[in-house]
């Protein structure tokens, strides 16, 4: 690690004011310290925002506001979250380990970086880490990388489980920064790689996430399911957050599907959703919708399994929600 200065921010406004080029905000540190040790992140100055008074989970009208420094454990254990957004609690609980969840913050979870092997190894090229150096994953190891929304520059995935549930819930991220306060919807926070894979999100330098606001939960049944070859403490091969509402006539009135482990961002399967809403809640309809969604996939030899995996998962999950 290169030497750096460390300071604690007293308030969000102070943090933004004190932000300068070379500064990075430090939340729980479960990813940033890891990346600093690898030499992937080399801040000159760490501004610790983990103790800012942003650790409340509170109802705001018919919405729920989750402060950015709420620890993952506390988010998943919160009675309000468990009763109104069980899918979110489940998603958080499938992430990392108990130790990591005790420390990792909501803001940090959203901004964690890809676990692509090349990104994490400073001795190998990576367009995300060193723009223009190339993407060896495309011809090399991409077994757990993206199949949707990829570019010739990057096939990284976003590793968060929580963000997948937030995408299905259409949560909003509250941001303060040098340009003032903003609200950014999820999806919309995370970018696809395009020709700028170094940019994970639409945030600008100095932007600080202060909260995530959850709109009223959509009607219908919901679920989060994560697939991995190790039964716990592993990133998703593919995960799904889904909500399905079926009328008494058997016609689908609402459907949201978000996939994890398949793209540079939590992937809202909008094509599939459009195909399903207004149609019958049958396995056949779900299969057609899933296939329509996955027509856009660009699998590589070693991650091609994610296409049938995502298809099976969409169909099976929606069938379960419909029954």
């Amino acid at each position: 690690m290169k030497p750096f200065e460390y300071a604690r921010a007293g308030s969000p406004a102070e943090a933004v004011r004190d932000f300068a080029p070379g500064t990075m905000y430090l939340g729980g540190g479960t990813n940033l310290v890891d990346l600093m040790r690898l030499g992937v992140a080399e801040p000159e100055r760490l501004l610790d925002v983990s103790r800012l008074p942003l650790d409340a989970i509170e109802p705001v009208g018919d919405r729920v506001r989750v402060g950015a420094t709420v620890r993952n454990t506390d988010l998943a254990a919160d009675p309000l979250v468990r009763s109104r957004y069980p899918m979110l609690a489940r998603a958080v609980l499938t992430g990392a380990s108990g130790q990591v969840r005790n420390v990792a913050t909501v803001g940090g979870n959203l901004l964690q970086r890809t676990r692509c092997a090349y990104f994490q190894d400073v001795t190998r090229p990576c367009n995300k880490r060193r723009p223009g150096s190339g993407c060896p994953a495309i011809a090399g190891d991409h077994g757990n990388l993206a199949v949707l929304g990829t570019s010739g520059s990057c096939v990284a995935t976003h590793p968060s489980d929580m963000a997948v549930a937030l995408a299905a819930l259409e949560a909003e991220v509250h941001v303060t920064g040098p340009g003032g306060d903003r609200i950014i919807p999820i999806p919309g926070l995370h970018r696809l790689p395009g020709e700028e894979p170094e940019r994970d999100t639409v945030l600008a330098p100095g932007d600080l996430i202060t909260a995530v606001e959850l709109p009223p939960p959509p009607p219908g049944a919901s679920v989060y399911r994560k697939v991995r070859e190790r039964a716990s403490f592993a990133f998703a091969l593919v995960s799904i957050a889904a909500v399905l509402d079926v009328g008494s006539d058997g016609v689908v009135t609402g459907c949201r599907i978000a996939l994890g482990g398949v793209a540079h961002a939590p992937w809202r399967a909008e094509r599939a959703e459009r195909a399903i809403i207004g149609g019958p809640a049958t396995g056949e309809a779900f299969l057609q919708a899933a296939e329509a969604e996955l027509e856009q996939a660009h699998p590589l030899p070693r991650n091609a399994f994610k296409v049938p995996l995502a298809r099976n998962l969409i169909v099976s999950t929606l069938e379960e929600l419909a029954s």
Partner: protein
Amino acid sequence: MEITLQVNGVSRTVDVDPRMSLLDLLRERLGLIGAKKGCDHGQCGACTVLIDGRRANSCLALAVAVDGSEVTTVEGLARGEDLHPLQAAFIEHDAFQCGYCTPGQLCSAAGMLGEPGPSAVTEDILVDPDLTPEEIRERMSGNLCRCGAYVNIVGAIGEVAR
């Protein structure tokens, strides 16, 4: 930077390099070798300690960032000569072989027993479940044991949880 921690009930003030992890501070500066370095990236759990009562990977905590915290390591679990019930159960169940993951397993288990709420395998997310073997296995999955003592670890923790 000068920081002050309560480590196993004792106030320790030290001048640390901001790059130093809590784990390295404990091991290299404070002579507390109980917390182990297995991966240095939060991927194995051998360094688990309790920070302000909650289990955490001390390798991922910068020492400067935990200034003012209370830290409990495996050295602080026993009360004098009396082993913590988890320590006694680990011995009785042969819940370790090489012993290198053991301090982390013990601190993790001690923290875990105080963590209410559901886990990824809890059937009804609204209910705080009993610590069945399945629940213990999921909650202890952040602590790898390459010797493969999991069956005995779960048995030892299960006995204490009852």
